[in-house]
Structures are given as structure tokens and as C-alpha cells.
Amino acid sequence: MATLIEAETPDVLGPAAPKRGTGGVGRYILVRFLLIFPTIFILVTLVFFLMRITGDPITAALGGRLPQDQLDARIHEAGYDRPILVQYFEYLGQIATGNFGTTLSDRRPVVEMLATFGTATLELAINSLVVALLIGIPLGMIAAHRRDRTPDALLRFFAILCYATPVFFAGLLLKLTFSVALGWLPVSGRASTSTELAMSQLAAPSGIYWLDAIRSGNYQALGDIAAHAVLPAVALGLLTAGVFLRLVRTNLIGTLGKDYVEAGRSRGVSEFRLVTKHAYKPALIPIITVMGLQIALMLGGAVLTETTFEWKGLGYQLAQYLTARDFVAVQGIVMLLAVIVAVTNFVVDILAAVIDPRVRY
């Protein structure tokens, strides 16, 4: 990371930056930054029109439950009977001013809904990322060190198995084993009812349960939260652990063949130190950039994991809102996810460019 900051500071300052092709890092960053907006714009537009092809949100959500005249009145009130393009531009204007509307099914401001469930998903994502790193990196090191031997073959197979197992099936197996057969861990949910209650009564909750529990000194709740967090984190973590394993393995094999590693070995540096320090640190750079790209996979997996474990986050709510045909809420969630993905890709692109100047064009 030290090289990263060193490389970044002089370049961003501008005039002294080495010019390469059409421009330096400053220009590259600017272009990449501006590309965030078309990405979000395209996805929002796509979802808006896809949702509206099938009719207006009021009929979709309440059709059949209200008499036609009342339905018409509500459609008119909300302005859904106007031309679609008028509504589209109005919608864009609303987004630009930060007004995302109110959900149709449970009448909550979309921003508040996103904040509540977004933190739950963030908590799940952090937990599973920790699991993925704890499993993926050491196993990748072993595979690289024992290359083309039995451990390597087994670990490569394990990595493919991680990819081949859908998160919901992994979740089901974990539930059957650790919750039903052994009875060690709770079957589903983010916390037991008493903990949920205690968390909702906090003065300024961050929404991330373990953080709130530590801050309020409620260690009994912390234990309960941890017990609930294990299975979802493992189920989603295994999905990405396979990717990390292979990444670490491939990149470590590259650096393990370098002369300076051989030199270290001849100086008597232990194999363990060679793998975990000398060869691992330079291999870390490509790993960090690819890690950022895993965010899309993680978000997709989160929808399935949350449904499996009734973890009330964005993914769980998205499935609920889609079933209720609550298009306002769905558009809000898609918008947030698009922003997350676009911003992550931007950060990853910049990291890659700063680390490796050849990436720029």
C-alpha cells in the first residue's frame, strides 16, 4: 500500500504527471469518474421502462383489491395516467433532487427504507467477506506452495465446488447440520426477538447490530448476534472464498518463481515466511483489484442468502417488494445497487491504474 500512495500523490497534482498517450492519471481518473453517471443512468432507465411496460405501479400493487373507479382515482392522483416520457423525465428530476418517493406497499419513504435494510446487508457483506478472506487466503497459499501435488488438486476442486454450490443450497445444508441435527446455532434471522427489541431502543443506532451491541456494552446481545451471524456469513462467504483461493494461488505461483524468492530461500528464510511474506505481498496488488469486482457477485448472493436465512436486508426486501409489485421500492433498491456497483468499479479502476501505469489508456 505504501507504493500506492507514493504513486498517487505526485500524479494527481497534475502538471508534473508523466504524460502517456492522451493524458496522465488526472485525466484518466476524470474520465472514469464521469463514466459512473452513464452506468447509473442506463440501469435506472432500463429498470424504469422495464417496470412500466407492464403497467402502472398502482394497478400492479393493488389491482383486484380495489374497485376500478377507486383505482383510477389513485392512478390519477399519483400522475401515472400521463404519457410515459413525461413521467420518466419527472422521475429523473426527482432522483436528481434526492426525492425517491414513498413505497407503495408499506408507505415508507424510500430513503429511510434503503438506510434501514442497507445496513443489514452491509453487515452481512462484511461478515461474509471476513469469512471469505479467512478461508480463501490461507488455502490459496497452501495450494500455491504445494502446487500440482495432492493438496493443490483437492483445493482446486474445493474452489470449483464453492462456485458450483448455490448459496441457498449451502445455507440449507448448514441449517440441516448445525441448527437442526446438532442444535448449535439458530435457524434463521439476524437476532432473537429480545435482542432486536433492545437494538431498536438504542438512542442513535448505526444499524449494524454488532457495532451497536459493543457501543452499548450489551455483551449478551453480542453473543446472540454472533450466533445468528455465523451460518449466513459462512454460506455467502464460501461463494467468494473459492474465487479468493484461486486468485491467491495464481498470483502467488507467479511471484514464488521470482529470483528474489529464490534468493531469500538460499539465505535460509523459512518456507512459511517466504510464502506468507516475501511472495505474498507483491501478489496482493492484483488480489485487491479483483476483490472489488466481487461486489456484484456478493450482492447477487446476498439476495439469495438473505432469503434463505430470513435476514431482513435489501435482498430479502427486494424479493418481498417484487412479489408485491411495489415498483417504487424496487426502483429505489436498484438505484442504490447501481450506485454501489458503479462507485466500486470506479475505485477499482483507479487502484489498478495507480498500481500499474500500463492499464491507463
Binding site: T39, L50, D148, P166, L172, I253, V290, G300, L304, A319
Partner: protein, 334 residues
């Protein structure tokens, strides 16, 4: 459509070899050695079993996918494996073994339809975009990148809810799922074919075709198309496994095919979730294992082909030389 599928299997070697050896998978078996060959063969076996189950599901399955009774009476609900129902029955009284077998047919159909559609659209757009360039190319690239970056399952969910609209017939459901998966895959084919087209456009044989006076369409359709589609069997295999996972994900979230119109593994797993807390394992484990084995088989075939296509990654047949074994590396697929 038929042109796409046949042309996607080009002879990999210029020298004349028996047709059997020039087909993608058989040529790969011949090239492989050791661990790579084992993985490829396991993959082929699993994929073969899946295809056999899909083709002969009507003969193999003891009951229909939506059958809840026979001459002897109504099936028991949640019956444990054994007797008349070797893999037990679900809460709705469906026979688990039958539904798993029929499910392979649904999965295979969705793979074929969705991948065929994605190849058709993706290859066409990729060729156009790469060959003509300009503003069309830029617009398509930005759109494809935006779609590519977004979580694929979410996009498929949104698509399926738009398309299906309560459609629950067999073909209606299959088409809805396939189109949803297609939207996710098109950018991938588009990227690969576009990159190849741009590379090939600079090749001398394309230039000479231009000099001779061939039309743009002829150059694209014959010269570039046949060369750019070499990598398609590989993407096809890897995408098939992704298609199964997406289909299962859709089914699991309840946006797939209705249980009365077809058997679908993901849907069965969704229903099995409620059984799990009461210790009923057979409704979930069997369809789940079916998904894992199918995806595993397809992935192993695809990965092995990927390694064997790249000479740097290919393990060499060398006796007693330890170094040569070390020459093979596995490409990390990010």
C-alpha cells in the same frame, strides 16, 4: 440459428485429422494428461449423466413431475425415502426422485434456449460493433458494460417479473427464464466477439478480402465470423453452468416456473427450506445435489478446455521430467 451452432464448432487444427479428433471435447481429451485429464473426464461423465437424465426423463422417472396420486391412491406428504418413493415425497405429495429427473429436462431446455439466444444476439452485435466502430460501438460498449457490471441475478429477476406477468405454462416459463438469462449473457458474448473482431480486422486476410471487393457483410459473415467464434465452445460450457445457477436462483426466489407446469430444482429447494427446520432433509438435499453435480460437471469441462486451449497452461506429456509438470498453471478466473 442453425448456422450459429454448427459454425461454433470449427476445426481447431489446420492439418487434416479425423473428424472425431477435431471436435472440441474429443480433441481436448487427447491433448490432456494426468490431473487435467482426470478433471476433464469427471466433468464429461457428470455432464453426460445430466444430458441422459434430461433426454430420458419421461422413461426414467417413476411418476410425472406434477403427479400426486396413482392407482393405489394419493401419495403421502413428506414421506421418508424408501418403498414406493425411493427419495421420499414433498409437502405437496410430489415424488422427489421424479421431480429431480424432470428438473434436468427443464434445466437443459433453458440452457439451450438461453445460450442459443445469447450467442445469436451477442455475436451479431459484437461483429457489427467491432467491424464498424464509431458511435455505434461506443454506445453499445457503454450499455454492455453497465449491464455487465450489475449483479446478474437481480437483472434476471427484474426481467423475469416483467416478462412472465403470471405466465405459468411450460414454454411460457421456460421462455421467461431464458430471456432473463439472455439479457445477462449478451454483454459477455458481445465483449468477446467485439474484441476478436477488432483484432481480426487488422489481419491481412481481411484486408485482401476488402481489396478483392467483398462487401462488408460478406467479410463479417464469412471471414471474421468463422475466426472470431473459435472460443465459443468454451464460453458456451462456462455459461451453461451459470445459466443453471441463475435459473435455480430465480426458481428459489419464486420468479421461476410454476411447479404444475414443469419441475425446477430451485423452486423445490425454496419449498424445502420450510421442511428443513423440522428435520426433513430429502426434499432439499436431492435437488440441491443435482444442481451442484450438474454445475460441477459443466465447470470442470469448461475449465479444462480453457487450460488446454492455452499452450502455456497445458500440462505436457513428459516422462521422468519434474520440470515439465511445473509448466502448467491454472488461469485464475476472476
Amino acid at each position: 440459428m442453425s448456422e450459429t451452432t454448427t459454425a461454433a464448432v470449427p476445426p481447431p487444427a489446420p492439418r487434416k485429422a479425423p473428424l472425431l479428433d477435431r471436435l472440441p471435447v474429443t480433441s481436448h481429451i487427447r491433448q490432456s494428461v494426468g490431473l487435467q485429464r482426470t478433471m476433464l473426464l469427471i466433468g464429461i461423465t457428470l455432464t453426460g449423466l445430466f444430458l441422459l437424465a434430461a433426454m430420458f426423463a419421461p422413461l426414467l422417472a417413476p411418476y410425472g413431475y406434477a403427479q400426486i396420486s396413482d392407482a393405489a391412491g394419493t401419495f403421502p406428504a413428506q414421506a421418508a425415502p424408501g418403498g414406493k418413493h425411493p427419495w421420499g415425497t414433498t409437502v405437496g405429495g410430489y415424488d422427489v426422485l421424479s421431480r429431480v429427473l424432470w428438473g434436468s429436462q427443464t434445466a437443459a431446455t433453458v440452457i439451450v434456449v438461453s445460450v442459443a439466444m445469447s450467442i445469436f444476439v451477442g455475436v451479431a452485435l459484437g461483429l457489427l460493433s467491432g467491424y464498424f466502430g464509431g458511435w455505434l460501438d461506443r454506445v453499445l460498449v457503454v450499455i454492455a458494460d453497465a449491464i455487465y457490471a450489475f449483479p446478474s441475478l437481480l437483472l434476471a429477476i427484474v426481467m423475469s417479473i416483467v416478462i412472465s406477468q403470471g405466465q405459468s405454462s411450460f414454454w411460457g416459463g421456460i421462455l421467461a427464464c431464458s430471456i432473463s438469462i439472455t439479457v445477462v449473457f449478451v454483454p459477455q458474448y458481445f465483449r468477446v466477439i467485439r474484441a476478436e473482431t477488432i483484432r481480426l480486422k487488422a489481419e491481412p486476410f481481411v484486408e485482401s478480402a476488402m481489396v478483392v471487393g467483398a462487401s462488408s457483410w460478406r467479410i463479417m459473415g464469412r471471414h471474421i465470423f468463422k475466426n472470431a467464434t473459435r472460443t465459443l465452445p468454451l464460453i458456451f460450457t462456462l455459461n451453461s453452468s451459470e445459466a443453471i445457477l441463475t435459473l435455480a436462483g430465480l426458481g428459489f426466489l419464486g420468479f421461476g416456473i410454476e411447479p404444475t407446469s414443469a419441475a425446477e430444482w430451485g423452486f423445490d429447494l425454496n419449498k424445502a427450506l420450510a421442511d428443513a427446520s423440522s428435520g426433513i432433509w430429502w426434499t432439499g438435499v436431492f435437488p440441491g445435489v443435482a444442481i451442484v453435480l450438474t454445475v460441477l460437471g459443466l465447470t470442470l469441462v469448461g475449465e479444462s478446455m480453457n487450460d488446454l486451449n492455452d499452450p502455456r497452461l497445458r500440462g505436457r506429456r513428459a516422462a521422468g521430467n519434474k520440470r515439465s509438470g511445473k509448466a502448467k498453471t491454472k488461469a485464475g478466473r476472476p
